[in-house]
């Protein structure tokens, strides 16, 4: 009978399949065949980054001719999800790109400390703080990311103001805004807070004009007092700016990337807190407004005793995975990716402000940015964990639409920051 033949076969098949099903080891293993390094990032597929990647590859090939390097560009909005899956599985790329701050600090368990490999670069590059946790460096910075306040010089001229001398006090700044709004109908700020990014930029840009130098350094060092009057002042200012009609309308439903930048580029807003690299930066604005109309200013003084500075950190950098076979080899690739030659190409093509202090800048807005780097300090929001940042984004939206008070928001943020 047919069943008789089938039955043992089916049992055997069942056992075999069950065997497969229970084989779920979680042992870290490497998929990097000898002589091949895999790099994950979200940049290498950009046209503006092609030459940079080529330069870095060539530099690495000189040192290690036998090793092939493969760049795998992932979509940015999926990047950390995919990376999370790779980390969970304990296998994946040998070298990977990270945003500085919370994104890398949350994942240092999967990374090799690079201090011993990259010490020759320590002086030449800047922005290490964003890739450092507990005194160990986990990635080399490629670009710098900061939050300068850009302004539209053309609108200043139209309102009869001198664009070479932006206001240095909050009252002067708002008076200028009022004059410009009267003359041109442009709002003071372009605000995009749909992703909750608006508050991050606001905190970092105007925090330098509010906190005293001591409070500032304490904040970065992790001693954050969310109940201090100055911190409260920043968040109250966030609320007041909206209440006084200084923001472009509908900030909670406008994306920072890229609708808010669009508002600024089209001259409908005078100021925007932008970025230094990647997107929403001087190079983008130059294209629309003309290089001569893009101004950069530091925060006006909001509270007595504050010393405004440019908030900046390491923007993106490359780290080495713990599961790679030869960490020294992978670290060498990281060094090639941060070589002066490669980085100057990246600056020239992508308009990113790179971490290499020896790369020379040309455009007016960049020149003043680079000049501010010397006195610049790490941005306030980058010091926060991604959990607190996410909470701050939500609370900032609720402050804007009035469903949460500033005090209640600061209480929640303090609790989240301490845990």
């Amino acid at each position: 009978m047919k069943q008789r033949v089938l039955w043992p076969a089916a049992v055997a098949a069942m056992l075999a399949l069950a065997g497969c099903g229970s084989a779920t080891g979680n042992e870290p293993s490497s998929n990097s065949a000898s002589g091949k390094l895999v790099v994950w990032d979200w940049k290498s597929s950009d046209k503006t980054a092609t030459a940079y990647v080529e330069k870095a590859k060539a530099d690495f090939a000189k040192k290690h001719p036998g090793v092939t390097v493969e760049f795998v560009a992932q979509p940015f909005d999926q990047y950390y999800t995919l990376l999370g899956a790779a980390i969970q599985a304990g296998k994946g790329p040998d070298v990977m790109m990270f945003n500085g701050g919370g994104q890398i600090r949350d994942r240092v368990d999967a990374l090799v400390p690079l201090d011993q490999y990259v010490s020759p670069d320590k002086q030449r590059l800047t922005g290490w703080d964003a890739f450092t946790k507990d005194g160990k460096v986990f990635a080399s910075p490629v670009t710098l990311q900061g939050h300068p306040i850009y302004f539209n010089k053309d609108l200043y001229k139209k309102a009869g103001l001198d664009p070479q001398k932006p206001a240095t006090t909050w009252s002067g700044f708002t008076a200028d805004c009022a004059a410009i709004t009267k003359a041109t109908k442009a709002t003071c700020f372009a605000l995009g807070n749909k992703e909750g990014a608006g508050i991050q930029f606001f905190l970092s840009a105007f925090g330098t004009g509010t906190l005293s130098p001591q409070e500032y350094d304490d904040w970065i060092a992790g001693k954050r007092d969310w109940n201090s009057p100055h911190v409260k002042q920043i968040f109250q200012l966030w609320k007041d700016v909206e209440a006084n009609g200084l923001n472009s309308k509908g900030g909670n439903s406008t994306t920072m990337f890229t609708d808010a930048f669009g508002i600024f580029q089209s001259g409908k807003a005078t100021n925007i807190i932008g970025l230094m690299s990647d997107i929403g930066h001087w190079k983008d604005f130059n294209e629309f407004l003309g290089p001569d109309n893009v101004g950069v200013m530091k925060s006006p003084v909001i509270a007595e005793g504050a010393v405004p500075s440019l908030p900046f950190d390491g923007g993106i950098g490359y780290g080495v995975a713990k599961w790679t076979k030869d960490p020294a080899l992978a670290a060498d690739l990281v060094r090639s990716l941060t070589s002066t030659d490669a980085l100057s190409t990246f600056y020239a093509n992508a308009g990113a402000v790179v971490s290499d202090t020896t790369v020379k800048a040309a455009e007016p807005a960049v020149t003043s940015l680079v000049a501010d780097l010397k006195t610049g300090k790490p941005a306030l929001h980058v010091a926060l964990s991604s959990k607190t940042l996410e909470l701050m984004g939500r609370l900032s939206q609720q402050i804007l639409d009035g469903s949460v008070t500033v005090d209640a928001a600061l209480k929640q943020l303090g609790e989240s920051d301490r845990s």
Binding site: K2, G250, T254, D401
Partner: protein, 320 residues
Amino acid sequence: MPLGDFTPLLARPARAGRADGTGAAPPRRRRTGRLSAERLSPFVLIAPAVLVIVLFRLWPLLLGVNFSFTGDGDRNGAAVGLDNYAELFADPLFLGALRNVGWLVLLLPVAVAIPGMLATFIYLHVPGHRFYRSVYFFPAVLSPVIVGSIFNLLLSFDGPVNSLLGLAGLGPVDWLGDSNVAMFTVVGVHVWATFGMSLVVFLSGFATLDPALLDAARSDGATLPQVIRHVIIPGLSRTIQFVFVTTMIGMLTSMFGLIYVMTSGGPGGSTYLPEYYIWIQQGQMNRPAFASAASTVLFLVMLVVGLAQVSFLRRTGKED
């Protein structure tokens, strides 16, 4: 051959029992052996299907549940008991997401009634019904990302919808930026985008409706509401039941794209749904085990809601 083997499967043991009731033991034992093989054969035959379900559905589900009792980050892989669940139910954001699920359940009758009413009108041959039939179905072929982008433009603060409201003398509404409005906006767009499929299901249900009943009702002088209440709804109870369940599942599991594109869970977390929460925890916060706990809760919620719906609808179906 297979048929020959199969049909007697149920019949044979009974017959054999009766025939051999007084017979000797040895032949009986031999026959039982053969019979048990025959009895087992259906199980063997369904084994591949069962195995696929067990291996690719139930086993991963169990792994996921098991994973939810472990920690993240520093405590990666360590058993943490119910810590994740305790944290989950202390998180106002997750509770907000569950509250939004409650809203979805409450809005469900509306989401079912809209395609139901429109299908009724098409079935009753309102002028232009052929045109409406295809037009109503059209949004169902659009991906949520495209639908979301279209409505992002339409509903932006300085967008056309607010301009129209302005013309009518009404103040602008921040459709996606006001935490009291945003959830209803997203649900409304979701209903707009998906009701075409339910409409088709309703129309196919109407195809099974006996037109004689309608004619009888009409000749008895029934009004349109009476026809709907006493003829159409009872006649379509199974279809309505089906649409209820599929619409609920659709709302709970496929609004991610719309939320992602339209509000990113905002403003202030007011449009969070559990699946979006799971994604944020796994993808942005790098907490896969915690996300597993949230997934387990979502699974249980779906199970409870689904079973409650089916039993509720079955009962009302019987009353009719």
